[in-house]
């Protein structure tokens, strides 16, 4: 399987588990900054997440958080700049998944993102991705000036 199609110059760099599904698994990808770039990568990561036993609401939340994090890195981090890449590392164990997602943008300050659930922001169209990531994952933090997101989901 090609990672997300021929438009991804970076593609997978390393880390494929030799038998594809054994856990713990560590998957490393580099993708370009287009809207459809993460699709193949998400599918591969989520296949491992499912095999790790995550299902139902937990799987739904991991999937949503991963999609939102990648969309943020591509759109808000790299601003769809074709010269910039998003680096993804997924560590998947039976009771824990951990994602590191790093863009090449200017970074951001989490504290400066307005609360989308405040009455005055409810009708605004953006700002909900981070809220959903923080709601569904067990632990979430940013480092490297806000360019790298690290998020963990532990099975309950």
């Amino acid at each position: 399987m090609t990672v997300g199609g021929s438009s991804h110059e970076g593609g997978r760099r390393a880390g494929r588990n030799k038998n594809g599904t054994a856990l713990p698994a560590k998957l490393i990808f580099t993708i370009s900054s287009s809207h459809d770039a993460p699709i193949g990568v998400q599918e591969q990561i989520l296949a491992h997440v499912q095999k790790a036993g995550f299902s139902g609401r937990e799987f739904f939340g991991i999937k949503l958080a991963l999609e939102e994090a990648l969309a943020n890195a591509i759109q808000h981090g790299n601003r769809l700049d074709p010269a910039k890449r998003v680096h993804i590392e997924a560590r998947i164990a039976p009771k824990k998944v951990e994602f590191l997602i790093e863009d090449e943008g200017p970074g951001f300050d989490r504290g400066c993102v307005p609360d989308p659930t405040a009455d005055e922001n409810l009708e605004k169209c953006s700002g909900r991705g981070i809220l959903l990531i923080e709601s569904y994952m067990s632990r979430v933090w940013w480092d490297r000036g806000g360019r790298r997101l690290r998020m963990i989901k532990e099975r309950t």
Partner: protein
């Protein structure tokens, strides 16, 4: 989008436009843009538009999809129209609750209740 299936199916119940999604994932940018465009046409085609979005088929969505729904809601309100959402699965409903958008939208359990809730 990978195929040419229209992203929504539109039917009419009296003066109410009923919109059903044909893709279980209202997610990718292309799909969201297509849906938003179709909703805009339905909103703009008459004054006081009445739209019912039936989520029966929807298993997954994204924050970008929520943004598209908020846009549609704002546009409908500008035209003194009415928007209702119905048949939202529990997992999707939780997304509306987390984002508190269940306070912004009129959400009804089923299509019949939603149709009955439109003011004349």
């Amino acid at each position: 989008m990978a195929d040419n299936t229209p992203p929504v199916e539109v039917t009419q119940e009296k003066e109410i436009r009923v919109v059903e999604f044909t893709n279980s994932r209202i997610l990718d940018e292309g799909n969201i843009t297509d849906i938003g465009r179709t909703l805009n046409v339905l909103i703009d085609e008459r004054s006081n538009p009445k739209l019912l979005l039936d989520f029966r088929t929807v298993e997954h969505l994204s924050s970008a999809a929520l943004g598209m729904l908020i846009n549609a809601n704002n546009r409908i309100r500008q035209k003194n129209g009415q928007l209702r959402l119905a048949n939202i699965k529990p997992q999707i409903m939780e997304v509306f609750e987390i984002t508190k958008l269940n306070r912004l939208f009129r959400i009804l359990p089923g299509r019949a209740e939603a149709l009955a809730s439109f003011a004349q």
